[in-house]
């Protein structure tokens, strides 16, 4: 009996020992399992933090064909040329846009990331919504002089602020704009931000005044061009109490439809004669000014041996006609202006007035033709019934003239007069962009007037165009594609699935 009991005890002990060893093994495997999962998670998180925060930016590549999301070498070179202690804050006064595809931020957000990446610490980019963080406005603009609002970008450096409105970073299809629709045609994001950085760090070197109230147009594209050349731009309204401010380096009469008043003529004459001022005038032939003869303005211009004609130009040389139906033509560059456009490309224009020299030639004036028609152009005027009457035989006419005083060096006033408006017209530049021959030409004209050599020209970039060829696609094609992709293919798979299911079921 006692032997049996001992045997049973021994067996029980053996069983208990085996069970506890299994439990211990299970526990150790459980611990191993949990620990391995925790270790893997920690390693994965660490790797991701390292890639995300430390080396991730270096392993980012812009593969777009136009490098839309990368700053150009010109910008990088300028940023590199800044002193090492420069710190520019670019603050988007908004939450960082999340899904920005199809919005004005699409080309801004990734590009600004690249500004920060390429700047070597000189530029930081932040997004701070002033409604959530009201202190940011005071922090950037303690005196409240820059009118900082939500949804714009503020660039700040050493207490100075430049603002960039996202909507103004693009060119828009002007025809669609007439219907209130913003359809972007080109991307000027880099140009806008880089020039804001240049003006912020270098300061404006000149001041331009655009005379307002003589036209029905906006001057925002002209302002962009002038800003990029280092000009601070302001407007002076046309009035009888018109005066030209003392700090005016350039007076601009852009796309005017109406003549100046007599008092304006006197003020401008004083500006040109006594302060050796600089004037640019552009006045084409439009529905708004077809009866305008610019008498007072011509009084001023006659002192520089220039006059704006009442007539309209008609180009007859086919090689100078861009689109006869649309009335758009090419103008060639004057002899002294070779190289003012890329590859001496011709400048484009529509309904123009010839710019003429007065009969009395003044010896003290130096004068160059700036833009010319072909030698087959004619002019016409309107009779009292409004019928066009050809006025001149075929000839070459000036579309732009430059005049200055001879042998007085830097103290000479400079006057450019254009009978076309497409050099600075908002609608034209909006459609063709800031890299078009016309914009390049006017920039070079202003550079030559002021001896500006170091401005930064960043070309507009084309936007992605996903349109399919409308000639190849008609309603029948679309219906066919709908039928194939939404009916035929899915139905074929469903039928195959049903057949397979039935066959397998019967196996």
């Amino acid at each position: 009996m006692s032997e049996n009991k001992e045997m049973k005890n021994k067996e029980n002990k053996k069983e208990k020992g085996a069970k506890s060893s299994v439990d211990r093994r299970a526990l150790s495997l459980k611990v191993f399992s949990v620990t391995s999962v925790v270790i893997i998670l920690v390693i994965v998180l660490l790797i991701n933090v390292v890639f995300d925060k430390i080396i991730g930016k270096k392993l980012e590549f812009d593969f777009t064909s136009t490098e839309q999301n990368s700053v150009s070498e010109m910008t990088v070179d300028y940023i590199k040329s800044l002193p090492n202690d420069t710190h520019i804050r670019i603050v988007g006064l908004m939450d960082r846009p999340e899904d920005y595809r199809g919005t004005e931020y699409e080309y801004i957000v990734p590009l600004l990331d690249d500004y920060q990446k390429q700047s070597g610490g000189k530029i930081t980019v932040e997004y701070i919504d002033p409604e959530k963080h009201p202190s940011i406005t005071k922090e950037l603009d303690p005196k409240g002089v820059y009118d900082l609002q939500s949804n714009i970008f503020a660039l700040s450096c050493n207490g100075h602020v430049e603002t960039v409105v996202p909507l103004y970073c693009y060119n828009y299809d002007q025809e669609m704009l007439n219907y209130g629709q913003y359809v972007p045609t080109a991307n000027n994001v880099e140009s806008t931000f880089t020039n804001a950085i240049v003006n912020l760090t270098r300061g404006y070197t000149h001041k331009a005044y655009i005379v307002s109230g003589l036209d029905n147009h906006d001057d925002s594209q002209l302002q962009t061009i002038l800003n990029a050349l280092g000009f601070e731009v302001a407007e002076i309204p046309a009035s009888d109490s018109f005066t030209v401010p003392e700090d005016c380096d350039l007076l601009y009469l852009n796309n005017i439809d109406k003549d100046i008043t007599e008092s304006m003529y006197l003020a401008m004459d004083d500006y040109l004669q006594n302060t050796h001022g600089n004037l640019i005038v552009s006045a084409g032939f439009t529905q708004y000014n077809s009866t305008e003869s610019f008498d007072n303005l011509n009084l001023l211009l006659n002192k520089f041996n220039i006059a704006i004609s009442d007539e309209v130009l008609m180009e007859n040389d086919p090689s100078y006609i861009m689109d006869a139906n649309a009335g758009s033509y090419y103008a060639e560059l004057g002899g002294n202006y070779g190289g003012f456009t890329t590859n001496n490309e011709k400048v484009k224009y529509a309904s123009a007035r010839p710019i003429t020299t007065s009969d009395f030639n003044r010896q003290w004036i130096t004068q160059y033709p700036v833009l010319l028609t072909s030698s087959s152009a004619t002019t016409y005027a309107f009779d009292e019934n409004g019928t066009p009457v050809v006025h001149n035989n075929k000839n070459q006419f000036d579309l732009g003239l430059f005049s200055t005083y001879t042998d007085v060096g830097d103290k000479a006033p400079q006057v450019y007069v254009f009978g076309i408006t497409t050099l600075t017209d908002d609608a034209y530049i909006g459609s063709f962009g800031l890299s078009d021959a016309n914009a390049v030409f006017i920039r070079n004209i202003i550079r030559s007037m002021f001896g500006i050599e170091n401005s930064i020209d960043i070309p507009s970039r084309p936007l992605a165009n996903y349109s399919i060829n409308s000639d190849k696609v008609n309603q029948k094609t679309v219906s066919g594609i709908i039928f194939i992709f939404m009916v035929v293919i899915p139905l074929a798979f469903v039928i195959t699935g049903v057949v397979i299911y039935k066959k397998r079921k019967n196996l």
């Binding site: 459980k30 998670l41 392993l59 777009t64 399919i468 190849k472 679309v478 939404m486 798979f493 699935g497």
Partner: protein, 255 residues
């Protein structure tokens, strides 16, 4: 692994599952494509990006039976008794599901060809989206595989993977809600507006950090970045490892 892969991949076409997935995917991708085509502008990056939003429907269908079906039939014991390693089984099944996704993608390739035929553009943004498509698919399939290993019921497995993928899709929305909640709490504690919003933004940023859709967004704009791909790949491996551990648990819990 190759044997497991081959068996699983072919099984998709021996049952209606593969055809249902193909029919569903071709209908959804076809719908997006014809909508774009009809509008006259075909941006394939948009189509591919929108398709990733449907992963929450297609992936549970594809992955729900991968392990749960074997568990239900009791054939899972073969994982432990066959000479193939458990990790090879997991990888084989995972790669089979991923390959089915590649087959589904043939639809989009046909769309690309048609777009090019009609004078449209298949640009770098579209190819960036293709990369994102496969990395996100890998991550979500790994989640589906993991969900399938948790249960012997295919429907429950599908629901688990659907809920996880849905939650990932809603991370930006969840982060917004968390931001408001954190802001409200901080306000009630009497902090000033700037601090309150900073706290809220940090909470949202932490949650957003885990959002693979947010991380891979820049590919749609032609910006290729290694970090988001590492994120997808590493978390794919995490879920495959979790699947392996779930199956491995069965081995020692049986012991």
């Amino acid at each position: 692994m190759l044997a497991v892969f081959k068996r699983e991949f072919l099984s998709y076409f021996r049952s209606p599952v593969g055809y249902v997935a193909l029919a569903l995917f071709s209908f959804l991708s076809g719908y997006i494509f014809v909508s774009l085509f009809g509008s006259g502008e075909v941006n394939l990056a948009v189509e591919i990006n929108l398709l990733t939003r449907y992963f929450m429907i297609i992936i549970p269908i594809i992955t729900m039976g991968l392990f749960s079906e074997d568990k239900k039939r009791g054939t899972e014991v073969l994982y432990y008794s066959s000479p193939v390693s458990l990790f090879s089984v997991v990888m084989g099944k995972f790669l089979a599901a991923l390959s089915l996704f590649a087959v589904l993608f043939v639809n989009v390739i046909i769309h690309m060809i048609i777009t090019a035929m009609y004078g449209g553009v298949v640009d770098i943004n579209a190819w960036g989206s293709v990369i994102v498509y496969f990395f996100l698919a890998a991550l979500f399939i790994a989640i589906g595989v993991f969900a399938s290993a948790l249960t012997d019921n295919q429907i429950i497995a599908a629901i688990i993977s659907f809920v996880i993928i849905l939650a990932i899709n809603l991370l930006s929305y969840i982060s917004g809600m968390a931001q408001s909640a954190a802001t409200t709490i901080a306000t009630s504690l009497g902090s000033d507006v700037d601090k309150v919003n900073t706290i809220g933004e940090r909470v949202a940023a932490v949650i957003n950090w885990f959002d693979p859709l947010e991380k891979t967004k820049n590919f749609l704009y032609g910006i290729f970045s290694v970090a988001p791909l590492i994120f997808c790949l590493s978390f794919t491996l995490v879920f495959l490892f979790l699947t392996y551990r779930v199956l491995e648990k069965k081995r020692w819990s049986q012991g």
